[in-house]
């Protein structure tokens, strides 16, 4: 991923040192520059590369949290992966995760975030501050606090929502669990999209919009023909980031714990339940590796779309 996003111009600079504009701008030399980045690389190695390799290794073992297989784990090859492919629980979670990403990230956060940014683009003053403040507040509150608020809102017997609507006993989290967590995550994560689109819209030259208006373009036509082409890169980058974040999000667990009857058991929750609650660490690691692969595919898909621009 890092390789694909790195700008191609470093190579060009390396090839033309004669221009008198050395790639070693700080004048540190290879060794000292290396010493400067070493701590960062060490942290990445310890906290990212090593755990990822360790997970791949664990996925090949029958390692468990307790019992005999915790003391003497055995190498089982690809058994865990084959088990995942024939495990209805895994497929159920995969389908639910795609629904969750599509509903809360691609549709919810992007559409709502863009709408808010578009409506607020020319406004100044209190209204804008209040709207942005509220949206960002939802983003920065700690998960545990947010989960408590939403449980209090949606609770079947004494929830605020049921009290407001006058329908006591309506079980939102049980009858519409997926819709509930999609709304929850949309509410929670819209701030990022809103801010990113807000910044992007600032880059659309007002003169282009003006000419479009003079040519008689409707609001939708302005958006389609002027705004979207300008912020295409922002849209795709935003989609890439929030898709990956949402794919790996554990927040819904705090609302529904994966229930009722596994109806909100998205992959992150499934891995937690398999590896830590049921104690099957090896199988959990194998599923984590599959999630990693799915993430890579999603990332490559978006990055290809991004590149097609050039």
């Amino acid at each position: 991923m890092a390789q694909q996003t790195s700008p191609p111009d470093t190579k060009a600079l390396d090839e033309s040192p004669a221009r008198g504009y050395s790639s070693d701008a700080a004048g540190l030399g290879r060794l000292r520059a290396g010493a400067f980045v070493a701590p960062a690389l060490a942290l990445i190695a310890v906290f990212l590369v090593f755990p990822a390799l360790w997970v791949i290794y664990l996925g090949l073992m029958n390692y468990r949290l307790t019992g005999i297989a915790a003391a003497e784990p055995q190498f089982v090859g690809l058994d865990n992966y084959l088990k995942a492919l024939s495990d209805p629980g895994f497929w159920n979670s995969t389908v639910l995760t795609f629904q969750f990403v599509l509903g809360s990230a691609v549709i919810g956060q992007v559409v709502l975030g863009f709408t808010l940014a578009w409506l607020m683009r020319n406004r100044r003053g209190t209204l804008k501050s209040v709207v942005e403040g509220v949206v960002i507040l939802a983003w920065i509150l700690p998960s545990a606090v947010v989960a408590f608020l939403w449980v209090a809102l949606l609770d079947r017997d004494s929830g605020t929502l049921n009290a407001l609507l006058g329908i006591p006993g309506f079980a939102w989290l049980l009858d519409y669990p997926m819709l509930s967590i999609i709304l929850f995550n949309t509410w929670r994560g819209t701030a990022f999209s809103m801010m990113l689109y807000g910044a992007a819209l600032g880059n659309v030259p007002p003169s282009h919009l003006e000419s479009a208006r003079l040519a008689g373009a409707s609001g939708w036509q302005q958006l389609r023909d002027v705004v979207f082409p300008h912020i295409r890169g922002h849209i795709l980058t935003n989609l890439l980031l929030i898709s990956l974040w949402t794919f790996n999000d554990f927040g819904p667990f705090l609302l529904t714990a994966g229930g009722p009857e596994n109806k909100t058991e998205i992959l992150a929750v499934y891995v937690y339940k398999t590896a830590l609650q049921a104690g099957d660490l090896g199988y959990g690691a194998a599923i984590s590796t599959i999630i990693l692969l799915i993430n890579l595919v999603v990332a490559i898909f978006y990055l290809r779309l991004l590149r097609r621009k050039g």
């Binding site: 949290l65 049980l174 714990a257 229930g259 009857e261 830590l276 104690g279």
Partner: protein, 464 residues
């Protein structure tokens, strides 16, 4: 930019956490000669779950133990590590602690975890950790065989038993009176329980019967639902080393679940699915919304206890009735019994990684000395302790626990003490909501048997 900066902050935090961890390590090693620090962990917390136990540790065990050690010339400080979470989460936390060579010196575990913890090497036989004192502990002579069995795995004692319990049907006498049911209710068959449920329902009780179901309630579904019913239908989860598959008793149990949750209105199927359903069922019982509830004596001691319960009922003695769990029909329970129950019990053991195993064992034994148990069970916190000498004294004034000790424990049964049991338990939990959710009562047992074969290593270990 914001992202980059926060990455930087994370990196700094990570680096300083490494540094701190290193500091913690070195100071821990320095404590050899002088002061000894011991920690004791339970799933109990002041003001929350098992509050009475937490208070007892903080206000009596710790000061008295430190005093006694000081008299011997040792400088010992004890710290309590509280938790107040579901048992499954507590187990996960303990396993991770023990796996990484950390954790408190003295820890409480559920008896049924002993097998898998022992096989993983997380706990070791007491004599191995603390030396021969563990075998010659004065308390052993006071503890009945069956209760000692809870702490024994492969013939070795891995822990000291903290107590035992029994399960009964609780009922709300006020609601019973309204429905025209007797205050000294004792059903003799499942049909009589269902009939009482019908009467409660027609008198307007929102939740006539609460029998735990589904995976959200975890082991509470197995222990306060499937297993007592299974015993009542004459079945056991494991007989002579073979696991019971889709046999008639299991079909009867799932059939009863279907009668309660499959649209009859006798139970509330949604309550079984909620993330905090069990806690909620306790609240509803305390609020007078539940007619009949199957629970252990924990419910009496820790839930509706007027002083320290999580859902206290000031009028517990007058309102809460209890009855033995009937067999499906008289004489059809396990061993031909008319009534059945299930028992478990907590264990208290040593962390094999303890730096001071001798002192840790002294603390462990101290918490289960006759004096400590009498102190712990004062002021309405009576429970069935492991020691007969203590039980004789303390149970006398406590109606429910005397009832359980005299009437229920002689009928009771225990879970198979094997490492694979918790996985089997989850499969049983999964079978119950399937029935409530509309799966045919024939299909669910077959599904269970298939899962069971996967867990216990093939069809050869399953009898149907």
């Amino acid at each position: 930019m914001v992202r980059n900066r926060s990455m930087g902050v994370v990196a700094v935090l990570a680096a300083s956490a490494l540094g701190l961890a290193a500091c913690g390590q070195s100071s821990g090693d320095g404590g050899e000669g002088g002061a000894i620090e011991l920690t004791i962990a339970q799933n109990a917390i002041a003001g929350g779950k098992n509050a009475a136990a937490a208070d007892h540790i903080a206000s009596w065990v710790i000061p008295k133990f430190e005093e006694a050690q000081k008299a011997k010339g040792k400088d010992v400080t004890v710290k309590f590590v509280p938790s107040g979470v579901d048992d499954e989460q507590y187990k996960t936390k303990l396993s991770l602690d023990l796996k990484s060579g950390k954790g408190a010196d003295v820890i409480d575990i559920d008896g049924i975890w002993a097998g898998e913890f022992a096989e993983a090497g997380y706990i070791k036989p007491l004599a191995e950790v603390a030396g021969p004192e563990a075998e010659s502990w004065e308390g052993w002579q006071q503890i009945p065989e069956a209760v000692q069995g809870l702490a024994t795995y492969n013939g070795k004692k891995y822990a000291l038993p903290v107590g035992t319990d029994g399960r009964v049907l609780y009922f709300n006498k006020t609601l019973f009176q309204k429905a025209g049911l007797p205050a000294d209710w004792q059903p003799v068959s499942w049909q009589e329980v269902l009939d009482a449920g019908e009467k409660l329902k027609s008198s307007g009780v929102p939740v006539p019967i609460q029998i735990n179901a589904g995976t959200a309630m975890g082991e509470a579904t197995t222990m306060q639902g499937v297993l007592p019913l299974l015993a009542g239908a004459g079945g056991e989860v494991q007989v002579d080393g073979k696991w019971t598959g889709a046999a008639q008793p299991l079909k009867d149990v799932l059939g009863l679940y279907q009668k309660v949750y499959g649209g009859s209105g006798l139970g509330d199927p949604k309550l079984q699915q909620e993330a905090k359903g069990r806690d909620k069922s306790f609240q509803q019982f305390a609020e007078g919304k539940v007619g009949i509830l199957l629970e252990g004596d924990y419910f009496w001691r820790g839930v509706v206890n007027p002083k320290t319960g999580v859902a206290p009922m000031a009028d517990r003695e007058e309102v809460v009735g209890y009855a033995k769990i009937p067999a499906i029909e008289p004489g059809k329970g396990i061993r031909g019994q008319d009534f059945v129950s299930m028992s478990g019990g907590a264990l208290r053991t040593l962390n094999p990684n303890s730096k001071h195993p001798k002192e840790a064992f002294e603390l462990l034994a101290f918490t289960l000395s006759a004096d400590a148990l009498k102190e712990e069970t004062k002021d309405g916190n009576v429970r069935i302790t492991p020691r007969t000498d203590v039980n004789k004294e303390i149970l006398a004034g406590e109606p429910l626990l005397t009832y359980i000790s005299d009437e229920v424990l002689p009928l009771t049964a225990y879970r198979p003490p094997v490492a694979v049991y918790p996985q089997v338990s989850v499969a049983l939990q999964e079978a119950t909501p399937a029935v409530a959710g509309g799966t045919a009562a024939d299909q669910a047992p077959a599904d269970y048997q298939k899962k069971l074969e996967g867990i216990v290593g093939g069809a050869a270990n399953v009898a149907s």
